[in-house]
């Protein structure tokens, strides 16, 4: 095993220990793994499977079922466009399309320079500010198509 592999074993091991290796906390554990690596690396999923004595197929099915997990590396900045109903009736789709055009990617994709990952979310519960775009957890409310470029420029 290489050094990188040992690191993953140690890191994942300590995440599993935080939950006393309780199998029922798999979703929460995967969330912590993703917070650590920004996505779910294959090696980490294998570690989770061995560490919990849960078949890898089960870990994989959970990792692919829930929307918040990604099996591919994501960009440095995560853009989440809210497509909740309140944002939808206030024109969220036009904002999303503008970002798609600017970055040349579709939701779920990452720009080639690994700068941005574009995703959509069903509702962030801040409907008064709709339409909303969340970048790295920062909310930008009352979005308009002409506010998209200035927003993206803030990140490098």
């Amino acid at each position: 095993m290489n050094i990188e592999g040992k690191k993953v074993t140690k890191k994942v091991g300590s995440i599993l220990d935080n939950y006393q290796r309780e199998k029922g906390m798999l979703v929460s554990m995967l969330q912590d793994v993703q917070a650590e690596y920004n996505y779910l690396p294959k090696d980490a999923l294998m570690e989770v499977s061995q560490g919990l004595d849960v078949p890898l197929s089960r870990v994989y099915s959970v990792a692919t079922f829930f929307k918040s997990f990604s099996l591919k590396p994501r960009g440095r900045h995560l853009i989440n466009v809210c497509l909740g109903t309140a944002c939808h009736v206030r024109g969220a789709v036009r904002i999303l399309e503008k970002i798609e055009r600017e970055l040349g990617i579709n939701p779920g994709e990452t720009t080639e320079d690994l700068k941005f990952t574009l995703e959509t979310v069903n509702c962030v519960g801040a409907c008064a500010l709709g339409p909303i775009v969340v970048v790295d957890g920062e909310y930008s409310g009352e979005m308009r198509t002409d506010k998209v470029i200035p927003l993206l420029k803030k990140y490098d």
Binding site: G24, A128, L129
Partner: protein, 618 residues
């Protein structure tokens, strides 16, 4: 902090907290809910703390960051107690003036007051603002008074008194009887009587039982559970502990969306505080009753709002529902009897115990008791959370509390009940809102989302939006939901893109009936609601799309065109710059611009930047 070992110790602590607080000392409360936070309330809090330091007023003023006050539209909100002075849209720059004028000199800062759009009058006090005036904030009211991460605040407003009463003065059966008598029904959507659910779970065979708090609020446009969990987590915990005692459970779970980081954090803090105070854990308040709560974070799957799917997810499996031939109160989590209620339901419980079932049952309609929190969003002036007694009419909620539709537009419909609810037209605005009345008009209560739509909202587009949402969230386990919704989505997309055919509406109706009858869980069996209700009330819009290839609301891209109104266009050139396709040209200065329809991609950029209304969509 030493652990509280008896009800007396709890009351002694409560008294000492209340005694140490001067009710006349000015307290500046700043809303720290997600809405106000997004508007920058954190900077306002920092500015208050700094200014108080600068003016050396630290000993004379309290500053408190509270949970959501509800009036998100006007955030960041600041309320100065005990005078109840209400300032809205407060910036960090306003802070020195507020301290000097209001706190030191006792004057109001007029420009920060809320102006009643109806009468154009300035309103000084929070309780006089029309948005709050008609509400009955029993469950949500303390959100604005307490800091969610300070257990002393909750104790000061009577927190955990209901728990103490239950543990020492009531048998579990008496608690269940009380909840049954109150008429409380599940606030998560189903509306099942809470007391009866508890009773079934208590009676179910087995020594190990679980209770779950569902905070997987997946309905887009609903955020009351989040606000309660963020703003008053102890009220939810108290309700859960009471429920656990009544049912005979010793382990509970809070299943919360990972998209709600603040709710996760505040719930964690509250659990730790309750444990330290002997209100949670072993031998609660010296009663001999043990109960623990763990938090489990959801992974962003709408179907996990369904109880059996949620329980599967709690077991570390894929969140797929199962058929409920055997109810979860008999065989739920890990096949043990499990009682699941949502956040708002749990938060109602301490209130019922404290005030009594008879008092509670006086509020509301014959079959729907108490209050309900709605999140009022969409095309409405006052977006926010409103708590009203069951039975208030839609008209009162939308116009008196919500302040009507912005921009003088015409009301078209209100969508209630989340993605699987229905759209209710203007003709039903006098409907009293309760579980049964909403069902009668083809919608439902759901978790309490209320999305207002105006004349610029296309009902075909809305139906397509919800079906696309539900198709994406369908777990795929049963065929009617997985394939049926996909087919419905195709038909609706065809209609909205101008490929609709005669008979499509009838086909949608037939498909809907089949999906309702044969789906495995509530996600599928309620999914056709938005389509059926829009067909029922807005058939003419479907017809316009299918027969005339026209979108009357001007939304469906393939059926609309953008046009420059020459009389209104001064040729300022803003839209020329905004257009990503170079489809608009300024031919001559100060003359109307020209739009090339062949190049136009209908992105709406020009429409957004034009402040003169010189661009129309038809």
């Amino acid at each position: 902090m030493t652990s509280l070992g008896s009800p007396d110790e709890l009351e002694t602590l409560r008294k000492s907290i209340i005694k140490s607080r001067d009710p006349n000392k000015p307290c500046i409360t700043i809303c720290g809910g997600t809405g106000c936070h997004s508007f920058g309330s954190e900077k306002v809090v920092a500015a208050f703390r700094q200014e108080i330091k600068t003016q050396k007023l630290g000993a004379k003023i309290d500053v408190r960051t509270t949970g959501c006050h509800g009036f998100c539209e006007r955030g960041p909100l600041v309320v100065i107690n005990p005078k109840n002075i209400f300032y809205q849209r407060v910036n960090a720059a306003d802070v020195p003036e507020i301290i000097t004028e209001t706190i030191v000199n006792g004057n109001t800062v007029d420009r920060l007051l809320y102006i009643d759009p109806g009468t154009a009058e300035k309103i000084t006090h929070e309780h006089e603002v029309p948005f709050y005036k008609k509400q009955k904030r029993l469950v949500f009211g303390n959100n604005g008074n307490i800091a969610p991460t300070v257990i002393e605040d909750y104790l000061a407003v009577g927190g955990y008194a209901a728990l103490s009463k239950v543990l020492f003065k009531m048998s579990p059966e008496a608690v269940i009887e009380e909840v049954k008598k109150s008429g409380l029904r599940g606030r998560g959507g189903g509306g099942f009587p809470t007391g009866i659910k508890w009773q079934s779970c208590r009676k179910a065979e087995g020594d190990t039982k679980y209770i779950i708090c569902n905070c997987d609020e997946g309905d887009p446009g609903a955020f009351m559970d989040r606000s309660l969990m963020e703003g008053n987590p102890h009220s939810v915990l108290e309700g859960m502990i009471i429920g656990a005692y009544a049912i005979g459970a010793h382990q509970g779970y809070i299943y919360v969306r990972n998209e709600y980081p603040l709710a996760v954090r505040n719930a964690q803090i509250a659990i730790k505080q309750a444990e330290e105070h002997g209100l949670l854990g072993e031998n609660i308040l010296g009663s001999g009753f043990d109960f623990n709560i763990r938090i489990s974070r959801g992974g962003g799957a709408f179907v996990c709002g369904e109880s059996t799917a949620l329980m599967a997810s709690l077991e570390g499996k894929v969140g797929e529902p199962r058929a409920k031939y055997v109810h979860t109160v008999e065989k739920g989590l890990w096949d043990k009897p499990t009682n699941l209620n949502n956040v708002e339901t749990w938060a109602n419980v301490p209130l019922i115990i404290n005030e009594g079932a008879d008092w509670y049952a006086k509020i509301g309609t014959p079959k729907s008791k108490g209050t309900k929190i709605f999140s009022l969003t969409g095309k409405i002036n006052n977006t926010g959370l409103v708590e009203v007694p069951m039975g208030m009419t839609l008209r009162e909620i939308i116009y008196d509390i919500g302040g009507g539709i912005p921009g003088g537009k015409k009301f078209k419909a209100v969508q209630t009940g989340g993605p699987s609810g229905g759209c209710i037209p203007e003709s039903s605005l006098n409907l009293p809102v309760d579980f049964d009345e909403l069902a009668k008009v083809g919608s439902m209560m759901g978790s309490g989302g209320m999305i207002v739509m105006d004349e610029n909202t296309c009902m075909v587009d809305i139906a397509r939006y919800f079906i696309a949402f539900l198709e994406g969230e369908s777990c795929g386990k049963c065929v009617p939901c997985r394939e049926g919704l996909k087919r419905m989505q195709q038909i609706l997309t065809d209609i909205s893109e101008g490929r609709g055919k005669n008979g499509d509406v009838e086909l949608l109706e037939r498909l809907s009936a089949a999906i309702i009858d044969s789906s495995l869980c509530a996600l599928g069996s309620t999914a056709p609601n938005p389509v059926l209700s829009t067909i029922r009330y807005f058939r003419d819009e479907y017809e316009a799309h299918i027969k005339d290839k026209r979108c009357p609301a001007g939304v469906c891209k393939e059926l609309i065109t953008y046009r420059i109104i020459d009389e209104k266009c001064p040729g300022c050139g803003l839209c020329v710059k905004a257009c990503p396709q170079e489809a608009i040209t300024l031919v001559q200065k100060k003359k109307p611009v020209v739009l090339d329809q062949d190049k136009c991609i209908k992105c709406g950029a020009c429409y957004d930047v034009c402040e003169l209304g010189a661009i129309e969509v038809k």
